[in-house]
């Protein structure tokens, strides 16, 4: 199938919380330049999968193998769910972005001129340079998402993991985000978690369905029958003659 070495690989991973397995026997190799969409129902283990990949949660069984070199400060870039962020925390946009550069080998206080320059460049590219000194509490959802995207890629990671990046943002930014990801994908592998597969399916290369088990789908076109077979009960509505664009039904609770 593929003779290249995966940059990150989960092998028969079982993991969960408080004695309850959320993921069972999950195997997922991630190669350079992959663009994987992770979909699945709420509570199906998408976020748990992300935590295992990031090393935040130790699996009960199985292996997480990674060749991502941490010595050069690259490793994995991470964009968490935005509702996990305390928006009243007294920190400026610029500091949030610079925090993407901290690493074990360098916990001293000052950032170099190059690093500050890099942060300024990223803010410029993302169109948020005027916000540099603002506290994050004064930003809109879309602006905040841009800031966290800057933070997650400022270290030029080899793998970028985004957990539900399309919540709390407008359609306009969502399009922009996926266009940005397309460009970033030339330099890094990307894994994007989403409950809404409609949007991601046209950008990702492959799809992983997570519902305790993980089924890997080597294509970005997926039908409702296939989802059923994967034990991944997400309802789809399909448009056009061929199901190349799929829209998930939104479950507003």
């Amino acid at each position: 199938m593929n003779t290249r070495q995966p940059i990150l690989e989960l092998k028969n991973v079982t993991a969960g919380y408080n004695g309850l397995a959320v993921l069972k026997d999950v195997t997922l190799p991630v190669y350079a330049h992959d663009f994987i969409g992770v979909i699945g129902p709420n509570g199906g283990g998408k976020t748990t999968l992300v935590k295992v990949m990031l090393g935040l949660l130790k699996p009960w069984k199985g292996l997480v193998k990674s060749i991502l070199d941490e010595k050069d400060g690259r490793g994995i870039g991470y964009l968490p769910q935005i509702n996990q962020i305390d928006r009243k925390f007294p920190i400026s946009v610029k500091d949030v972005i610079l925090s993407g550069l901290i690493r074990k080998q360098r916990i001293v206080n000052r950032f170099t001129r190059d690093e500050i320059q890099l942060a300024a460049q990223m803010m410029h590219d993302m169109g948020i340079e005027q916000l540099a000194k603002k506290p994050i509490g004064e930003l809109s959802g879309g602006q905040l998402q841009r800031v966290f995207l800057c933070r997650s890629v400022i270290s030029s990671p080899s793998l970028l993991i985004l957990d539900e990046p399309n919540t709390y943002v407008d359609n306009h930014f969502e399009n922009e985000l996926y266009e940005k990801l397309k460009i970033l994908n030339q330099k890094m592998a990307i894994i994007v978690v989403s409950h809404d597969i409609g949007m991601i399916s046209s950008y990702v290369k492959t799809i992983a369905c997570v519902n305790t088990e993980l089924h890997y789908h080597e294509s970005n076109i997926i039908s409702e029958e296939q989802l059923q077979a994967y034990n991944c009960p997400i309802k789809l509505i399909t448009h056009g003659e061929i199901p190349h664009t799929v829209l998930g039904i939104h479950n507003h609770e």
């Binding site: 090393g55 968490p80 500091d95 610079l98 925090s99 074990k104 001293v108 206080n109 950032f111 933070r151």
Partner: protein
């Protein structure tokens, strides 16, 4: 004022006010930013168990308080990460259990427990030379630590999970900061008292946060506001012969209200 400084007790009180404002200004900003005010309240009240134990065992109650507050600080940090105990319930249990132990020990101690009220409500005018040296040392350690590791402390407090993905020693920093919180609380007991300390760690920060929105600025202004409150409270307690701890808190609240009104007027005038 100049006459007052000639008295030893007053110059000690002044030094205590300066260094307590410094340590509480910085540590309080950390506590408020990270939303661990309730945890700090738990540590504070648990330390009363140590004060009681100190009386009972015939050692300095502050040493007992230090042991209890350090243990409770590490206990909370451990519990909240390693087990699935509901954190706020665990803190409430510890909070009241510490107070209960304190009361039992004080009751069991034969004779009269001198200065008990000063541990509960503070007594800045009775701070000893040794305590001044301890408060000064701690506040300078805190200042240097925050100056050296400001960004790391800020980033970990802001987003612990992200910091973990960057492989920095998050756990080590968390325990170290919990220790500094516990020690700050213990060494502020003489100034504000167990029941009132929380205000030294939150009112100056709330007042500063009215005008500045950045961690380092909040810390800086908190130190100044805290010192202003401590000094006016100190003078007030001397002039009107009222308990110093309560006078300090009273002044801090007045300062907060004045600043809040000032901000309202400023916004009104601007528009």
């Amino acid at each position: 004022m100049i006459n007052l400084i000639q008295y030893d007790f007053f110059s000690n009180a002044l030094l205590a006010a300066i260094f307590t404002s410094l340590s509480c200004g910085i540590i309080g900003t950390y506590i408020v930013s990270k939303r661990i005010v309730f945890i700090s309240g738990g540590i504070t009240h648990t330390s009363f168990g140590g004060v009681g134990l100190g009386y009972f065992a015939g050692i300095n109650p502050l040493i007992g308080a230090a042991i209890f507050s350090l243990l409770s600080a590490f206990g909370i940090e451990f519990l909240s990460k390693k087990t699935d105990v509901r954190e706020d319930s665990a803190i409430a249990i510890m909070w009241s259990f510490g107070m209960a132990i304190g009361v039992i020990f004080v009751y069991l101690t034969p004779g009269y427990a001198p200065n008990l009220m000063s541990y509960l409500f503070g007594s800045i005018l009775t701070v000893s030379d040794t305590e001044i040296i301890l408060i000064a040392t701690l506040s300078l350690i805190i200042l240097v630590f925050f100056l050296l590791f400001y960004k790391i402390i800020l980033f970990i407090a802001f987003d612990e999970e992200f910091s973990l993905t960057r492989n920095i020693p998050v756990v080590f920093f968390n325990y170290l900061l919990m220790a500094l919180i516990a020690l700050t609380i213990v060494l502020s007991i003489k100034v504000a008292g167990i029941i009132l300390i929380l205000s030294l760690l939150t009112i100056p920060q709330a007042a500063a946060n009215l005008f500045v929105k950045n961690f380092s600025s909040i810390a800086f202004w908190s130190v100044l506001i805290g010192f202003t409150g401590a000094l006016t409270g100190l003078l007030g307690s001397y002039w009107w012969n009222i308990p110093s701890g309560a006078a300090i808190i009273f002044c801090l609240v007045i300062i907060f209200i004045i600043l809040r009104i000032a901000k309202m007027l400023y916004i009104k005038l601007k528009h």
